[in-house]
């Protein structure tokens, strides 16, 4: 389904910092389970409740100032 603007920017964040892996070929959109897994990896690394949902705490954490380099915290994308 189409993503809302907040979800869009969350997916951009997860992509930018290595929680989501752009598929090497094929369509740009992501399977919901990939996004859920990426969110869970981010929440766990941020010591947030691991819900897989884009809740307020997760959004707030994504707005915090940080380093521009990727995070190696999603084992799947890290591989």
């Amino acid at each position: 389904r189409a993503l809302g603007p907040a979800e869009e920017s969350a997916v951009d964040y997860l992509l930018q910092y290595g929680y989501l892996q752009k598929p090497l070929e094929g369509p740009d959109n992501f399977r919901p389970e990939d996004v859920t897994e990426a969110l869970r990896a981010f929440q766990e690394a941020s010591e947030l409740p691991v819900s897989g949902q884009l809740d307020d705490a997760t959004r707030a954490r994504m707005r915090q100032p940080r380093c521009g380099l990727e995070d190696p915290f999603n084992q799947k994308t890290l591989r």
Partner: protein, 411 residues
């Protein structure tokens, strides 16, 4: 920690290409130089600054546009900085951030620079949210130091610091046997609880001074006693006061009508100087990170000193009790500590003040028990050289725990 790469050499050059507009240049430079020091003090790395030409590591500030970086920044907030991994060496900071030093406002340049240098040296992001190499900025910490995970990562890359490159401070950790006092001045017993001065020094080390000797106070016990002059060459014992300022990296020692200034263990040129704007024979001194000023105490009065600006002392001394509620006059020592609180010491007791500079409930408490890890039955006589055996209680996670646990036991 995560390793992303490593330099094949350990002696690197660096060059600061430009500086942020939000900080005085000398403060910004001090912050960047200090960032290198965090890493060179735990690994056999050296960093030599070059003013022109090529350098292994190149630090610069840019914003949305940059002629030499495709990775543009996003304005204030969000991405603060980025760096390439070895052996590329570029370290870029977002010039649109409010870069600061010594304050909770804005973004602390020293801490972010240390993080980016971690990348430039080969470290990736750490999962410990309190580690320097954590991806998200955890805010300004007045007594910042590397997290064990940061140290483990850099030593995994470059090994531990080896003996010949160890600086004087490292000597504190590895005594070459009980220090032999040059003259028979009696070695104090830390369990007497009496002090000439206390100081939270560089790298978050707590120093206690009594007579001609100094020792460190750690969460797990006391360091060995050393002659003051063995560590700070040229400094006499029996000091009146000692204070370290993270803002300037200066350590000031006071005795009689003189003041000495050191950076780490090296005396600054032109010191000691005569004290002329404040009274001689001070009692204590502390640095207060909230307003970045040094406070000097004598009798019932205090002076507030801005190290970097001409201070008008004509309205001082002011009554201690006006600002530090509940503390005794004529303290023997005072310091701001890692827990953000202020401590005053007098006789065998100490007072803990909250962030509003009010003495907290349940104080004063016993210095020997809570700070010097001594049991109640330890004799408080002056021991001769070498038989100091501070009876440290069980190694607890942090001194504050010791303070609370001991006092509750006493109660």
């Amino acid at each position: 920690y995560l390793l992303l790469g490593r330099w094949r050499k350990k002696h690197l050059t660096f060059r600061i290409l430009n500086l942020p507009s939000t900080l005085p240049p000398h403060i910004a430079r001090a912050a960047l130089l200090r960032a290198f020091k965090y890493w060179s003090s735990v690994a056999p790395l050296t960093f030599r600054e070059v003013q022109t030409g090529w350098a292994d590591i190149r630090l610069s500030f840019h914003g949305h546009q940059s002629p030499y970086c495709s990775n543009t920044f996003d304005g204030p907030g969000r991405v603060l900085a980025h760096a390439d991994i070895p052996e590329l060496g570029s370290v870029h900071f977002d010039e649109d951030e409010l870069w600061t030093e010594g304050t909770y406002r804005g973004v602390n340049l020293r801490i972010i620079a240390a993080h980016e240098l971690g990348h430039a040296l080969g470290l990736g992001h750490s999962r410990y949210t309190q580690a320097l190499m954590a991806p998200v900025y955890a805010g300004y910490r007045p007594y910042f130091q590397l997290h064990p995970d940061d140290v483990a990562g850099i030593q995994d890359l470059y090994g531990k610091k080896n003996p010949e490159t160890r600086n004087e401070e490292e000597e504190m950790k590895v005594p070459t046997g009980p220090p032999v006092p040059r003259e028979p001045s009696p070695m104090p017993n830390p369990c007497s609880g009496e002090l000439d001065a206390m100081m939270l020094g560089p790298h978050g080390k707590t120093y206690a001074f009594k007579g001609d000797y100094v020792w460190t106070v750690t969460d797990s016990g006391l360091g060995p006693l050393f002659l003051v002059s063995d560590l700070w060459e040229g400094l006499p014992g029996k000091l009146d006061a000692a204070v370290y300022s993270p803002r300037t990296q200066w350590i000031h020692f006071f005795k009689g009508d003189k003041v000495w200034r050191y950076i780490n263990f090296k005396m600054s040129p032109g010191f000691p100087k005569k004290l002329n704007k404040v009274e001689p024979n001070l009692d204590a001194a502390l640095y207060w990170p909230v307003n970045q000023k040094v406070f000097l105490f004598k009798g019932s009065g205090y002076w507030q000193w801005d190290e970097l600006a001409p201070t008008d002392f004509s309205r001082y001394p002011k009554p201690i009790k006006e600002l530090f509620t509940g503390v005794p006059n004529q303290p023997s020592a005072a310091m701001s500590w890692r827990d953000g609180r202020v401590y005053f010491f007098k006789g065998k007791k100490y007072w803990r003040l909250n962030r509003q500079l009010r003495v907290e409930k349940g104080y004063p408490r016993n210095t020997a028990h809570s700070w010097m890890h001594c049991h109640p039955h330890t004799p408080s006589t002056t021991a001769s050289a070498g038989d100091i055996t501070p009876l440290a209680t069980d190694a607890l996670s942090n001194t504050d725990t010791v303070l609370d646990v001991t006092s509750s036991v006493t109660d």
